[in-house]
């Protein structure tokens, strides 16, 4: 039997396979090249960029929790300019599409960042991070306010001639509501989910562990919440979905795909196993072979028709 097809299409982008990197967990790609051949990934999603550089939150910025981690990086990033000058050229060597995540405090910032990136050669799509729980203003406010989310989406679509993927926050009453609003606003695809808002306390020092007090929960612990979000949004909107949240192995990835994700992103698992992305690509291929499935697309949403 010939090898099954792993290629998927997201927002007009043809991807070799459905395995992406989750923004903020894979740096700008180069950090993982000692372990991973970037050419074998579906796409590289880089750390969220803001128009101007950001310092981020004060440490500690990470703490381990049961089957998860809390982080409060606070969008530390070099800004769009330096990304274009220092990081994008390196990524251009690879045949893998580069998806650039952008964040901001104001619509204007999103738009300005988007325009600069749209002009650059080697940026395949934009992911709007409107759901970062770790920055005081901006970030999450758009993520939990449907109007704000729609407005950012519309503005960026107008400003940049690139596919726009909107990344949704799980910290809302109705993620399907958010999904519908940004879909109507012109989003080409949706990423879900970003981290859950959480915190940890050091009972010996009697204070929050994180310098920022609260942080974003990620890792296997949140997988059931993420799978549910993908499941519900798949039924609510027609857009292609990129599922993420606790994916650590191929079986996890397939769970998201059957829930309705056309692609998946691997985040926290990179920290545990630097080759997680590649192993998941291989594992999905093996599953397809073992189950006589010729094309990954046959599995997208498969669990809805049981």
């Amino acid at each position: 039997m010939r090898k099954p097809s792993l290629t998927v299409e997201i927002a007009g982008l043809k991807l070799k396979n459905p395995v992406l990197t989750a923004s903020g967990t894979f740096g700008f790609g180069a950090e993982y090249t000692p372990f991973v051949d970037l050419n074998r990934l579906g796409a590289v999603v880089v750390k969220s960029l803001t128009l101007k550089p950001r310092e981020g939150n004060s440490p500690p910025r990470i703490v381990e929790t049961p089957a998860g981690i809390l982080n409060s990086i606070g969008l530390q990033n070099p800004g769009v300019e330096r990304f274009l000058g220092e990081h994008l050229p390196y990524l251009r060597q690879f045949s893998t599409p580069v998806i650039v995540s952008i964040a901001g405090n104001t619509i204007e910032e999103y738009v300005a960042a988007a325009e600069k990136l749209a002009g650059a050669n080697g940026v395949s799509a934009l992911e709007l991070n409107i759901s970062c729980p770790n920055v005081k203003q901006g970030g999450l406010q758009f993520g939990v306010d449907p109007l704000g989310a729609a407005e950012v989406t519309r503005a960026v679509k107008r400003a940049a001639d690139l596919p726009v993927i909107v990344k949704l926050s799980p910290n809302v009453t109705s993620i399907t509501g958010m999904a519908k609003t940004v879909a109507e606003a012109g989003a080409d695809a949706l990423s879900l989910i970003n981290t859950l808002s959480g915190m940890a306390i050091d009972i010996y020092r009697r204070r929050p562990v994180l310098g920022n007090i609260t942080g974003g929960l990620s890792g296997p612990a949140i997988r059931p919440v993420a799978v549910r979000a993908v499941w519900e949004v798949y039924r609510a909107v027609k857009l292609p979905l990129i599922g993420m949240g606790g994916i650590a192995c191929a079986a996890d990835a397939i769970e998201f795909i059957m829930a309705g994700a056309r692609a998946v992103a691997v985040g926290t698992a990179n920290f545990l196993n630097p080759r997680a992305t590649i192993e998941i690509v291989k594992g999905i291929e093996r599953y397809l072979e073992e189950n006589g499935i010729g094309d990954i697309n046959e599995l997208v949403g498969a669990a809805h028709s049981f």
């Binding site: 903020g24 967990t25 894979f26 740096g27 950090e31 993982y32 000692p34 372990f35 750390k47 310092e55 981020g56 004060s58 440490p59 500690p60 910025r61 990470i62 703490v63 381990e64 089957a67 998860g68 981690i69 982080n71 990086i73 530390q76 890792g219 296997p220 926290t268 990179n270 920290f271 545990l272 196993n273 630097p274 080759r275």
Partner: protein, 269 residues
């Protein structure tokens, strides 16, 4: 830097209450490792603990390719690590980070270790001794029991002075090890100081170095995610060369060893 998913443990030795030395054979790591670098260790394959744990390369036997890590049990991960036995497997990434810049031949060097801070300095001492440089070594600990490596250090240090201090006076001088450093700097022309230990101690070391205008490098610790520079979890605030604008730098990539004068101490203990 490489990924070693399955390295077999060759030895697990309990050196003192809560202090262990774990060893494994890896000529590759032995060949790559530089003093001050660390390994990012996945203690168990499952989810307990979830994150890797960073440990400095403590000792390297170039002949046998055996690497040792020295660690203190302080929480869940190290407790699980201490349960590992000869023959069990470890999952390692490394060697990682920027190590110590070695001194020029014949420079006067001093090493200052606080408690488990001896871990990376021992490998540095091995390297210096190999290059014929015998630095002064200042060892600090809470009690005599924690100076378990003093004799091995003496052997390595050769003709150089090895001074010890304990908080409770149970061995050597009853003083913080930083007092020994103050004395040394006052009495002798030291050109470079290498230090590792609790943040509070390093802070004092840094101010002494400034006071005496002596160069120094220190090894810092911060909580890590990836260990390879991708997640920005492990940052510490640093001054740039000119001592002017401050910015966050990654302990796992730009560190763990930094110039003493670069560190902005407000962030610590």
């Amino acid at each position: 830097m490489r990924y070693f998913p399955a390295v077999e443990i060759s030895r697990q030795e309990k050196l003192a209450a809560d202090c262990y030395r774990i060893s494994f054979i890896s000529p590759e790591i032995a060949g790559l490792a530089r003093p001050g670098q660390f390994l990012h260790v996945r203690i168990n394959p499952g989810l307990e603990p979830l994150l890797r744990r960073p440990f400095s390369v403590h000792a390297v036997n170039q002949r046998t390719g055996e690497i040792a890590l020295l660690y203190r049990v302080v929480g869940r991960g190290t407790r699980l690590l201490a349960q590992k036995k000869k023959g069990d497997l470890l999952d390692l990434i490394g060697p990682l980070g920027r190590g110590f810049t070695l001194p020029a031949a014949g420079q006067n060097v001093a090493l200052v270790a606080g408690g488990i801070g001896i871990a990376p300095l021992y490998f540095l001492l091995q390297t210096l001794a190999g290059a014929g440089n015998s630095p002064d070594v200042l060892l600090g600990a809470r009690t005599a029991g924690e100076l378990f490596l003093a004799s091995e250090v003496r052997e390595l240090a050769g003709k150089a002075a090895v001074l010890a201090a304990t908080d409770d006076g149970s061995y050597g001088h009853r003083a913080p090890v930083t007092e020994l450093l103050a004395k040394l700097l006052a009495e002798k022309k030291v050109e470079i100081v290498y230090a590792c230990g609790p943040a509070a101690m390093l802070k004092v070391v840094a101010s002494l170095l400034e006071q005496y205008g002596v160069d120094g490098e220190i090894s810092l610790e911060e909580r890590m995610g990836c260990g390879v520079g991708a997640c920005l979890s492990c940052v510490c605030k640093m001054r740039d060369k000119k001592g002017q604008d401050v910015s966050y730098r990654r302990v796992c990539l730009e560190g763990p060893v930094f110039k003493a004068r670069e560190v902005v101490w407000q962030d610590f203990g």
